[in-house]
């Protein structure tokens, strides 16, 4: 067992889980989506990117790329949330919420790809 793989696998899978947790629910309903989960997803994702820096293998490059895509989209979703939130609080309106959730769904695809690569690489190397 390789300690680095454990740590990296933990962060990759955690990003995916948090992303699903955020996206799940009605697309336009602000009450179904928690801004804290989104923020945690961003942080965990950034950690995963940081862990992959310096890997010279092909799979490492692909994991880094998908991590960057997911990070970009999640941050974009968070920015939209900040801009759309009314001054008194209470969450963005239905239209803005739909934007945020669809951007986060895009990030979900990137995270699924990263997890698939990680699992595939581990199964193929068999050690």
């Amino acid at each position: 067992m390789n300690f680095e793989r454990v740590v990296f696998g933990f962060f990759i899978v955690l990003t995916l889980s948090l992303n699903v947790a955020f996206v799940a629910g009605g697309v336009e309903t602000a009450e179904h989506h928690n801004v804290w989960i989104l923020t945690f997803a961003i942080i965990v994702n950034l950690v995963a990117i940081g862990l992959k820096l310096g890997d010279r293998s092909q799979t490492g490059a692909l994991l880094l790329a998908s991590g960057l895509v997911a990070g970009l989209l999640l941050i974009a979703a968070r920015v939209v949330w900040i801009v759309a939130e009314p001054a008194g609080g209470g969450g963005p309106g239905p239209g803005d919420m739909a934007d945020i959730v669809s951007i986060a769904s895009g990030a979900l695809v990137a995270n699924i790809i990263a997890t698939a690569i990680l699992v595939g690489d581990t199964l193929l190397s068999r050690r």
Partner: protein, 585 residues
């Protein structure tokens, strides 16, 4: 006089064929359009309208092509309608004439040939992958093309016989193999086949005519001196001529055949290894044919017979010859000669009862097969080697159950394929042939241990940045990689992969059967013999720096900067502790 290319010729043929129909169209169009513009139209407000030239052209275009939109832009007067009838008949006939000529053109044999030439040259020129030029697509040529296709190597094929090129069209090769009916001896055709193309790896001259082969080799040497040429030749005069040229390899099918016969008789272990490498049917590694000792009877003393007799006698094997036209003076003293066809009586005269075996080597399959029948009857214990000439008689030879069937087009094709795909294999076989049989047996034992009962997969890899980036990087950084270490299985460290390195080519010299401990250098070419599934694994080791480090050390190194740094800190502290402990006695 100016030079003309195939493309010029095509345009010339088109122009010449289409000149008259184009003139006819031009004439009919001009008369029709001008006439239509001149015809008085309907009278509007007391003035006669006329069609302008643009509308006349528009009208004529849809009328002559029988589209017929009607009377546009305005209704026609009777004069105009009269002229319309004229336009319609002349225009439609002019078009039919033009189209008929065009159809005649595309069926014109000269045009088809010129177009084939242009298309072929374009196909060759656009091709980026390495390829081989194959001149002659007979028995040997088609077997060689099949072998090249199995190795995913492209070939460009020239043959003077249109039937052979048609036969090429119905083959299912794994890669594109463009072919054209052309005389390969003409430099023009060699040029369009890509003799100067940067991706051209070699030229193989395999036509049935030795003169043509010599001509092709000489032309190719002039056109591209750096191109490797492999040339089939059966006559001594041509061979001497060809061997004087550098970069030309002469392949004599009779010599190869005689060599194989000799190996089968005197070096069965080497024959077995060679047959196993080239993938002959029903050959098992380490189970050589059991050949009895004694004198051999050679039926047929033509060019092949000469080679076989020379080869066997040079290595101390006694030969008795049966041939109707043998010249006793040629053969030399003390050889038993029977001047007859190899039938019952002749075989008895030659002493079939106490002969070790028979080589039926005439160029007629029916004679060889009938000799086999007689031998089986007279001495069932005799070893029977038979020459198989024509591919068509395959089934009969399968049924004859001779101890060894050698088809000379197949042996030649295999030899050339080895020279093209993995020259190191042939070098290794030749190297083993010059040494003691014990060395071959040792290699066979090693291969058996590594491969089990699986068929061999021979492949070579060159240690340069494209093929083995991880290894070259490691070597350039001052690391050392031993051959045996590289062959470790990353999935079951430190077990070895089921593969055996047969040879290393380093700086123009070859190292045969290299030592497992021998360190590798950048730009080495290594020939591996492995089971099929091992190649991707070994290639992964060559490509991935982490897999390489793992097989070298057995430790999975950290990949990211963070963990590499942490590990460095950890190691540093451990070293510190060790030093500290050592300092305290």
């Amino acid at each position: 006089m100016t030079q003309t290319s195939d493309l010029d010729r095509v345009s010339m043929i088109v122009l010449r064929y289409m000149r008259r129909p184009l003139f006819a169209l031009l004439l009919v169009y001009s008369v029709g359009i001008v006439g239509m513009a001149l015809m008085p139209g309907k009278v509007v407000d007391g003035e006669t309208t006329r069609m302008d030239l643009f509308h006349a052209f528009y009208f004529f275009t849809y009328t002559a092509t029988t589209t017929g939109f009607g009377e546009l832009p305005n209704g026609f007067s009777d004069e105009q309608r009269l002229w319309t009838i004229f336009c319609l008949y002349t225009g439609v006939f002019a078009w039919f004439y033009a189209i008929g000529s065009l159809i005649g053109l595309v069926q014109n044999p000269h045009f088809i040939q010129a177009m084939d030439g242009v298309r072929f040259a374009q196909k060759v020129e656009r091709n980026k992958d390495p390829f081989v030029i194959l001149c002659g697509f007979g028995d040997t040529g088609s077997l060689l093309a099949r072998g090249l296709s199995d190795h995913r190597m492209r070939a460009v094929i020239l043959d003077a016989d249109p039937e052979r090129i048609k036969a090429l069209g119905v083959r299912d090769y794994t890669v594109a193999m463009p072919g054209i009916r052309a005389d390969a001896g003409a430099p023009k055709h060699l040029m369009s086949a890509g003799v100067k193309h940067p991706a051209c790896r070699a030229l193989v001259a395999l036509t049935n005519d030795d003169d043509v082969n010599l001509k092709i080799a000489v032309m190719a040497r002039h056109l591209n001196p750096r191109l490797r040429v492999i040339c089939r030749s059966t006559s001594a005069r041509h061979e001497a001529n060809l061997r004087a040229l550098d970069n030309v390899t002469v392949v004599d099918p009779f010599e190869i055949f005689a060599q194989l016969v000799y190996w089968a008789i005197a070096r069965p272990e080497l024959h077995n290894l060679n047959a196993w490498f080239v993938g002959s049917r029903g050959v098992e590694l380490g189970v050589p044919v059991q050949v009895p000792r004694g004198d051999w009877i050679l039926c047929g003393y033509g060019r092949m017979g000469h080679w076989i007799q020379g080869c066997l006698q040079a290595h101390g094997v006694g030969v008795r010859i049966i041939d109707p036209d043998v010249n006793a003076r040629e053969v030399g003293e003390g050889t038993v000669i029977v001047e007859a066809h190899a039938d019952h009586a002749a075989l008895l005269t030659a002493g079939i009862e106490d002969a070790a075996g028979v080589v039926a080597a005439t160029n007629r399959d029916s004679d060889n097969l009938s000799t086999l029948l007689s031998v089986t009857e007279l001495n069932p214990a005799a070893f029977r080697i038979v020459r198989h000439n024509s591919h068509e008689n395959q089934v009969a030879f399968d049924a004859a159950r001779a101890d060894l069937v050698l088809q000379h087009s197949l042996t030649t094709a295999r030899r050339i394929l080895k020279l093209l795909i993995s020259p190191l294999v042939q070098e290794l076989i030749d190297w083993l042939a010059e040494r003691e049989p014990a060395l071959t047996n040792e290699l066979v034992v090693r291969l058996q241990a590594a491969m089990g009962s699986e068929p061999p997969h021979l492949w070579s890899v060159r240690l340069f940045a494209d093929e083995a980036p991880a290894v070259t990087e490691y070597l350039d950084a001052g690391g050392e990689v031993a051959l045996g270490v590289l062959c470790r299985d990353a999935d079951a460290f430190p077990e070895a992969l089921s593969c055996e390195a047969l040879a290393i080519r380093r700086a123009g010299a070859s190292i045969m059967l290299p030592n497992k401990e021998s360190p590798l250098q950048v730009d080495d070419e290594i020939l591996f013999c492995s089971v099929h599934r091992v190649e991707p694994k070994l290639r992964a080791t060559l490509h991935n720096p982490y897999t390489l480090r793992y097989v070298l050390t057995g430790v999975d190194e950290s990949r990211g900067y963070l963990f590499a740094w942490l590990e460095g800190r950890l190691r540093w502290r451990r070293d510190d502790d060790d030093n500290g402990r050592r300092r305290r006695p």
